[in-house]
């Protein structure tokens, strides 16, 4: 029993050669495909969303349902472990320290839609140790579910509570599966992606498309002629936790 020195060197050499050949194989096999965007893809310098709260009636959850179906967001049914990409919060929770006793009843009571703010200066991207969450040139803050190590540092860093962690296998909790978007595994973080997969094919985000009142408007904030810019120029609007310097890109017309 055992392995002769000669044999050992032979095997070792073969292994070393194998490793040495990898770069060559990459060239020959062309393991470097270029991504070709669809001609219909929507592009922008800086994607942003404007939510007109006057058009967002209480009790309506059409956009939430559309988003969560589109992205196979599981319904865990347990507040501690719930996964959500877009949902509603009372004004006092969406805008902490902004509520006072005598503000108008309508604002005080109205549920505000909250989602990832796709910050221009995202703290989640800064802290991620693997670049599993990253910012695209068009401003969308993305998640790579295949790279995420599940350390949840981004969740501690996000001041908007926009991120969810898959504490257990989410697949068992997807009521209606959308086969055109991947499901996630347990142990990774997820959040709103401004529907990058739909933009790439020329569609607006699912929530924007689903809203019957056009309360959600999506567009290029860098373009002065865009609908979002015109809306913001004409209406008083606010953002969540501006003092933190994250520069969110979701605006609320109140």
């Amino acid at each position: 029993m055992g392995i002769s020195r000669r044999k050992f060197i032979q095997i070792g050499g073969a292994c070393a050669l194998g490793i040495g050949v990898i770069p060559l194989a990459n060239v020959v096999a062309g393991n470097n495909p270029k991504f070709i965007p669809s001609s219909k893809a929507l592009a922008a310098d800086k994607w942003a969303m404007v939510i007109d709260m006057s058009k967002c009636p209480e009790g309506c959850d059409i956009c939430i349902k559309a988003c969560h179906y589109t992205h196979n967001v599981p319904e865990i049914g347990n507040a501690k472990e719930e996964v959500k990409w877009i949902w509603t919060e009372p004004f006092a929770s969406a805008f902490p320290y902004q509520k006072h006793d005598y503000m108008d009843e309508k604002t005080k009571k109205q549920p505000f839609l909250v989602l990832c703010n796709h910050c221009e200066n995202p703290s989640c991207v800064r802290v991620c140790p693997t670049k599993a969450t990253f910012k695209r040139p068009d401003g969308i803050v993305m998640m790579d579910y295949h790279r995420c190590i599940g350390c949840r540092y981004c969740m501690a860093a996000c001041p908007y509570g926009a991120r969810s962690f898959n504490f257990k296998d989410p697949r068992a909790y997807i009521t209606e599966l959308n086969p055109s978007y991947p499901t996630r595994s347990k142990g990774v973080v997820e959040k709103c992606n401004f529907c990058d997969e739909r933009l790439a094919l020329g569609s607006l985000p699912a929530c924007v498309e689903a809203c019957p009142n056009e309360a959600l408007v999506f567009g290029d904030i860098a373009d002065p002629n865009s609908k979002v810019r015109k809306l913001l120029a004409a209406n008083y609007n606010i953002q969540r936790k501006l003092k933190l310097g994250t520069k969110p890109k979701v605006y609320y017309i109140v």
Partner: protein, 386 residues
């Protein structure tokens, strides 16, 4: 030399190792359940995303860093009393760093991807730097501890090339706890953590906890083996604990002034949750009151010269310091930053049974490693006579 760790093992020592192995086995069993089911088996939630694993990680980084409290006086100030125990400090650091790494691994949702931290190294992330400095610190202490002990074993002076590593290990020890503090203190929207005081507070706390633990270990070694660290060394350590504890308590106290004098709600919430309870969540307050009482009692016993120089009261004081800091840094600090979620609501957290067993398992791993190393040190010292 390693065989010395396994020579002449007494029945009690073997029983001790065996019981640690049982605890490790139970912890590992629960870890397998966690791997299979996900972190749902822990008490963590969408809001309290870090719990006892990260808290304990933070605490043991401090224990690891505190080795510098014996290394620095001995090598830079020629404090001869520490000659016999520097190697104990270094091996304690090795055990503590390994515990830290295990706690991080236990906390990960995708532990099989841990190497992504190096494959996709991200210098903007304090967590990446933490992995770098911790691995480096582990390596440094293995090199230093092993070579110092081996030269002692062979009766030759420590090789010259080890010296630079010893000097590097001193600022390196400070760096591991500073980087760990930076994990917390640079996050917008976490008011309790967002203070430059975190790093100095961590270091002061560590320099109280580590030497206190070392004193306890020296007492244990004296009781169960022929190794005596020497009264002078223990008394020097006790003085270090006394000063470091005073500074730690001072730093905890000044936070109260800033929060409550300014009356800024976000800054008050963390402390209110910890010490008084917030929005009806008062479950954690008894833990912090325990910390307060233990820390105050330890301070009294350590400042008072009579009780500091009495072995029994010193032992009690060191126990108090260790437990107090374990509660404050090992649980309270991490929770206080998270319990008030980004929506201003308080989220409860309590570790679950499996989470506790995994934690205890990691503790047992640390104790096991340190037991082996200390047995080795004791046997080497017995034969070399140093």
């Amino acid at each position: 030399m390693i065989e010395k760790a396994f020579r002449d093992m007494s029945r009690n020592y073997l029983l001790w190792l065996l019981s640690l192995l049982v605890l490790i086995g139970i912890g590992f069993g629960f870890y397998l359940v966690q791997l299979n089911q996900g972190l749902t088996i822990t008490g963590m939630s969408r809001d309290v995303t870090w719990g006892i694993y990260i808290g304990q990680f933070t605490f043991f980084v401090g224990v690891a860093a505190s080795a510098v409290m014996v290394v620095l006086p001995y090598y830079l100030h020629n404090v001869k009393e520490f000659g016999r125990i520097t190697v104990l400090g270094e091996f304690l650091a090795i055990g503590a760093v390994i515990m830290c790494m295990l706690f991080i691994l236990a906390d990960m949702g995708m532990p099989m991807r841990v190497l992504n931290m190096f494959v996709h190294a991200t210098p903007t992330s304090p967590m990446f730097w933490d992995a770098v400095v911790l691995s480096g610190y582990l390596l440094l202490n293995i090199i230093i501890g092993w070579n110092v002990l081996e030269s002692e074993y062979r009766g030759i002076p420590t090789p010259k090339w080890v010296k630079p590593f010893i000097y590097i290990s001193i600022p390196w020890a400070v760096s591991i706890h500073t980087v760990t503090a930076f994990l917390y203190s640079g996050l917008p929207g976490r008011d309790f953590w967002l203070t430059a005081l975190v790093a100095p507070k961590f270091l002061a706390g560590a320099f109280a906890t580590g030497p206190a633990l070392l004193i306890l270990l020296c007492f244990i070694l004296r009781k169960f083996s022929n190794f005596d660290a020497g009264r002078a060394a223990i008394q020097k350590l006790a003085l270090i604990v006394a000063y470091a504890l005073s500074i730690t308590i001072f730093m905890v106290a000044v936070e109260f002034f800033t929060a409550f004098y300014s009356q800024v709600p976000g800054h008050m919430y963390g402390l209110q949750f910890l010490f008084m309870g917030l929005y009806g969540h008062a479950g954690f307050a008894p833990v912090m009151w325990m910390f307060t009482i233990l820390a105050a009692a330890a301070l009294y016993l350590l400042i008072n010269r009579k009780t500091r120089e009495n072995d029994t009261t010193l032992f009690i004081a060191c126990m108090f310091v260790f437990i107090a800091m374990l509660l404050e840094k090992g649980v309270g600090f991490t929770l206080a930053g998270l319990v008030v979620n980004p929506f201003g609501r308080v989220a409860a957290y309590a570790p679950t049974m499996p989470e506790m067993f995994i934690t205890i398992g990691i503790w047992a791993v640390g104790a096991f490693i340190i037991s082996l190393f200390y047995k080795l040190v004791v046997t080497v010292k017995e034969t070399s006579g140093i």
